[in-house]
Amino acid sequence: MFKPLALVVAVLSAFSLNAFAKTELTVYTALEAEQLKTYKKAFEQANPDVEIKWVRDSTGIITAKLLAEKDRPQADVVWGLAASSLAILDQQGMLDNYAPKDLDKIGKNYRDAANPPAWVGMDVWAATLCFNTVEAEKQGLTKPVSWQDLTKPEYKGKIVMPNPASSGTGFLDVSAWLQTFGEKQGWQYMDDLHQNIGQYVHSGSKPCKLAASGEFPIGISFEYPAVQLKRQGAPLDIILPKEGLGWEIEATAVIKGTAHAEAAKKLADFSASPAAMELYKDNFAVLAQPGIAKPQTELPADYEQRLIKNDFAWASKHRDSILAEWRKRYDGKSEKVAGQ
């Protein structure tokens, strides 16, 4: 009777000792869920004394959550969030500037300009059109090749795009159109596009998934879900509009005041390391460290050249006014019909 009990106690205490020995690191992320397992495993193999606890959600929710917790942060570190979101946190003084070990290998466009930087980039995601070939044939749609094509009357009600007010991908599109077309023509373009939008949704990957299932034949999305869905056999054409692609940096930052600063910095080191870039390259065609990325068969070889020249400072500064204008014009699609 006594001996098994002693054994249980011994085993339990061994377990709890083991648990105490490991630092539990709370990591907020907007990475795609299927990427998490691999990233976690790789990091914990390199740092056996740290255990990652993920809090994953879409960009908007994670950013909102971080801001709501401003007075008492729950996150130790952020791994994989839009740089524009991290810039907002930085303005609120919530980030701990830190230079990871491999900072010198990171391209200078892919990190915060301050020294040491508030955030350091991992990879790049960019606007992509998902085009359902089966439905296109059924409905007699021609394949669009440019952003301008999307305003043709034949696509009326056939296009889905993310709402920039809730989705990072949506904002990246709007900001890119305003930058490439100029402000006046940019809004004119969105006015025309608005006539063809079947629905605005709240996440960047959903338009592509809706296109893949034929619910709406054209989705304005980004390349990661497009590539993944195509690999799964969805009848999709991946279209990179010829005017150029809006893009955004996925980045890592340490939260100011974390109780696990040392472990958080280990993660920041890892995120910027060549080993991590090896992981990112399976999912993304453009990485923060030049020279590691391999071309993805679903994307053209000159993919990186198709990204527009993106002025993040401008976008971050005007984010509020752009969103206000967008909401005024398009939020509530049936507003004009309703006679307001």
Binding site: T26, K53, A64, L67, A68, D71, I197, A234, D331
Partner: protein
């Protein structure tokens, strides 16, 4: 209250009386404290956020005036009102007919219909939306039946009708469950037609419940964003606007302001409920005979047809959701597989989320039903402490109108405040349980209150004259009589906790993520198959537990509810 307590007491206070006072006053004060922490303080935190004009938050008085006078807000408000009124106008009559069929006719298979009618309660509000997309979306099975696709006004209305139907039904079933047979005997012996008997007996006894159901459906609809987020398309409503303001734009102030607007229906229904209460007598006296409907071919046939139709629609919707969760790649590969049930590799937290939801549901159901029923009893059946009772009643009406999202944010603002000693609960299961009980308090309490109001106050008077302590009366008489209602509350809280998403989305930590949050995440990311799968899993769990409780309730009815049967020898 103070007067009561300082009244000169002619004889020595007996132990029973002291126990009673502890039970009544202590219970009320404790319940008030709990409600204060779980409802009032988070709400005040929201008001504080709504009116503080911190830059970029969209709050403050100027922002409020701007919001209220903007065309966009009027459009959203109009949409919300149109949707909510339509839903209430459709749901309440349907639920009344359904409840009437179950309680006042002799249709066969009542247990089955009742069980089916509760289906929508057992899945997140996103599920009817998901099913509607698979039925009437552009690639929907029955797309041909509609001229337009389902996204928009009718999509939201249909989804909300399905989602709110059992909520209204619960109240109406409870109101129609007890009737005094003597009244109907008297009516028929005076030659009154059944229609006349309905107008002068049944309707007056149930119209308060009809009003309550109408208000509940209205507020549930106006504050739900689960259905609009899935099938709303570009037809937007206020609740979704609050969600977007917070999630997309990080404008907590704006979300808080809209949340405050959404409080108004609850305040209104509280006022009218209080007014109706004063006019309402006890429906069931201590001498009542339980009404047993007489068979009638025509009446039963008609009601059976209505019930069958409603159940068929529900089965179609929920069957479609389960079917779609099993389809490999809709609509291009219709072969069946369990791929969508492999939650490890998708957003949301996988099986951990499901296990957490089970824990949350169990704790919420057990703690919540005890607290809520006792609280309702103290409010309804004890004299004195008028101010305290009124404060309790006001507080317990509030949660119904607070969108879960706003309540959740209130919890973040309040419990994550610097210097709040309650901060230790932040991100824990305890806080999720508290928030869930607070969120679903009103309906559960309305069920308890409706059941309690049908008990004559004579019962308490009898206990008093027998010098039996009140708490003993409560445990030995009230609880057993109300056991069916109590089990309904347990079931309601369990399934609500299984299905809640809106408040929890801001409160979970990595180790307390919930299944319904996973559904929303998956649907938001466009993984509709996975969302359907997790919803189906929640549905099966809730349905299983409900069946178990129904079985327990039947046993309890047999043991302690013999008085409900007709007199012996019949």
């Amino acid at each position: 209250m103070a007067v009561d307590m300082t009244l000169p007491i002619p004889r020595e206070v007996s132990r029973a009386e002291r126990g009673d006072r502890l039970f009544v006053v202590g219970g009320k004060v404790l319940w008030l404290c709990l409600l204060g922490i779980a409802v009032l303080m988070p709400l005040l935190a929201i008001f504080w956020r709504g009116f503080s004009s911190e830059a970029g938050q969209g709050g403050g008085l100027i922002a409020a005036r701007e919001l209220l006078s903007s065309a966009n807000f009027h459009w959203l408000l109009g949409n919300s009102l149109k949707v909510s009124l339509s839903v209430a106008a459709i749901v309440v009559p349907l639920a009344y007919l359904f409840a009437y069929a179950l309680q006042r006719t002799m249709i066969p298979g009542k247990a089955i219909w009742r069980g089916l009618s509760l289906l929508p309660l057992m899945a997140p509000s996103m599920l009817p939306g998901i099913a509607l997309v698979y039925l009437f979306g552009n690639q929907g099975l029955l797309r041909g039946l509609l001229a337009e696709n389902v996204y928009g006004f009718w999509g939201i209305v249909l989804g909300e009708v399905i989602y709110t139907f059992p909520h209204a039904l619960m109240i109406l079933l409870s109101a129609l469950s007890l009737a005094d047979a003597r009244l109907f005997d008297a009516a028929s012996s005076m030659g009154a037609s059944p229609a006349r008997a309905f107008r002068s007996i049944t309707w007056p006894a149930t119209r308060q419940a009809v009003f309550a159901a109408f208000c509940l459906v209205f507020t549930l609809t106006i504050t739900d964003f689960g259905v609009p987020v899935v099938v709303g398309g570009d037809y937007q409503v206020l609740a979704l606007e609050a969600y977007k303001a917070v999630v997309g734009q990080q404008q907590f102030g704006r979300g808080a302001l809209i949340g405050m607007v959404l409080l108004l229906p609850a305040l209104f229904s509280f006022g009218v409920d209080a007014w109706l209460r004063r006019r309402h007598g006890d429906a069931m006296s201590g001498r009542a005979q339980v009404f047993q409907p007489a068979p009638s071919r025509l009446r039963d046939g008609c009601y059976l047809a209505i019930v069958l139709l409603i159940c068929a629609v529900l089965l179609l919707v929920f069957g479609m959701a389960v079917y779609s969760s099993l389809v490999k790649f809709w609509p291009y590969n219709l072969s069946l597989s369990l791929n969508h049930y492999r939650f490890e590799d998708t957003a949301g937290g996988g099986w951990l989320a499901y296990r957490n939801s089970l824990t949350l549901a169990l704790c919420t159901a057990l703690a919540g039903s005890v607290l809520i029923f006792t609280g309702a009893y103290l409010m309804e059946k004890t004299q004195g402490q008028k101010g305290l009772t009124l404060a309790l009643r006001l507080l317990s009406f509030v949660p119904m109108a607070v969108p879960g999202l706003v309540l959740g944010l209130g919890y973040v603002f309040f419990f994550n405040l610097n210097g709040n000693p309650l901060h230790v609960f932040y991100g824990t299961m305890t806080l999720l349980v508290a928030c869930t009980i607070a969120h679903y308090l009103t309906t559960a309490q309305m069920t308890a209150t409706t059941a309690l109001r049908q008990l004559d106050a004579e019962f308490e008077a009898a206990a008093l004259s027998l010098k039996a302590p009140l708490y003993r009366h409560f445990l030995r008489v009230t609880v057993p009589i109300c056991l069916p209602a109590l089990l309904d509350i347990v079931r309601y809280l369990f399934v609500s906790a299984m299905t809640t998403v809106s408040a929890a989305i801001f409160l979970y930590s990595p180790s307390t993520i919930l299944a319904a949050v996973a559904v929303l995440n998956m649907d938001d990311a466009g993984n509709v198959g996975g969302a359907a799968a997790m919803s189906s899993l929640i549905l099966f769990t809730s349905a299983g537990v409900s069946l178990l409780l129904a079985w327990a309730s039947r046993g309890a009815l047999r043991r302690s509810q013999a008085w409900r049967q007709s007199a012996p020898g019949q």
